[in-house]
C-alpha cells in the first residue's frame, strides 16, 4: 500500500519506529484541518503558525518518548493539544496584551525612545568638553561660583557661605561668569549646539 494511503495508526507506528517520512505524510494529511481550527480561534496567521509548530513539537516529543497510546485517534489527539495551546495563548494574552502594527495603528505612535542617538551623545560630550575648556578661562572667583552652582547644584546661599561673600556678590559673580562665557564664545566664533 502506498504510504499516502496508510491509516494514521500505521503511520504513527512507522514514525515511532524511525520512519521520519511518516510524520511528513501525517502533517500533509491533517495540516489544513489543524491549522484551520487554530486560525478559526486566534484569527492571526503568525500566531496560528506558532501554535501549529508548538502543537507538532509536543506531538513529536510524545511519540519519540513512547508516551503515546493509541486509545483515541491521531487527529482528535492532535486537535486536543492544539486546543490546549490556544487556551494557553489566550491566557498569556490576557496577562500581557499584545499590540501589533497595522495600517491604522503603529505601535511607535505610543512607544517612543527619547534617549539621544549615538551622534547626539557624541555631540553632547564634545559640547560639554568645549564648555569646560571655556570655563577654565574664567577668573577663579567666577569659575568657582559657576562650578558650585551648575556642577555641584549648590544654592546661592550655600555658595555665599562657602566662599565667604554675600549672596548678592555670589549672584553677581555668576552673572559675570555667564556674560564672560558668552563674550569668549562670540569673540572666538565658537559654535556650541546640540
Amino acid at each position: 500500500m502506498a504510504t499516502n494511503q496508510l491509516p494514521d495508526a500505521l503511520l504513527v507506528r512507522d514514525y515511532i519506529n524511525g520512519n521520519e517520512n511518516a510524520l511528513a505524510v501525517l502533517i500533509n494529511r491533517h495540516q489544513s484541518k489543524i491549522y484551520g481550527f487554530i486560525y478559526s480561534k486566534v484569527l492571526d496567521r503568525d500566531v496560528s503558525d506558532d501554535i501549529f509548530q508548538d502543537t507538532f513539537i509536543k506531538v513529536i516529543k510524545t511519540l519519540k518518548s513512547n508516551s503515546y497510546n493509541e486509545e483515541g485517534k491521531f487527529l482528535p489527539w492532535v486537535m486536543r493539544i492544539a486546543h490546549n495551546l490556544i487556551i494557553d495563548t489566550f491566557r498569556k494574552d490576557k496577562k500581557m496584551p499584545k499590540y501589533r502594527d497595522s495600517d491604522d495603528f503603529s505601535i511607535f505612535s505610543i512607544l517612543m525612545d527619547n534617549s539621544p542617538n549615538i551622534e547626539g551623545q557624541i555631540i553632547t560630550e564634545q559640547v560639554e568638553a568645549d564648555l569646560l575648556k571655556l570655563i577654565n578661562e574664567l577668573p577663579d572667583d567666577q569659575k568657582d561660583v559657576l562650578e558650585m552652582r551648575i556642577y555641584q547644584d549648590l544654592s546661592f546661599k550655600e555658595i555665599a557661605d562657602l566662599t565667604g561673600v554675600s549672596i548678592n556678590t555670589a549672584l553677581g559673580r555668576m552673572r559675570y561668569a555667564v556674560l564672560n562665557l558668552r563674550r569668549i564664545i562670540e569673540k572666538n566664533q565658537i559654535v556650541l549646539t546640540n
Partner: protein, 48 residues
C-alpha cells in the same frame, strides 16, 4: 423532496501553515533524540 433554498457556500481557500513552519517541524523531528535513563527520565538531545 424538500428544496434547499440556501446558497451553496463559496469554495473557501484551504488554510495551510507556512512551508517554513512545516520544514522546521520536520527538521526538528529529524534532529531530536529522546534518551530514556535508568531512572525512567527522558533526556532530549537536539543534534544539528
Amino acid at each position: 423532496m424538500a428544496k434547499l433554498y440556501t446558497k451553496k457556500k463559496n469554495e473557501t481557500q484551504k488554510m495551510l501553515p507556512k512551508q517554513e513552519t512545516v520544514d522546521f517541524i520536520l527538521n526538528y523531528s529529524k534532529a531530536l533524540r529522546i534518551v530514556k535513563t535508568t531512572n525512567n527520565e527522558n533526556f532530549e538531545i537536539v543534534v544539528n
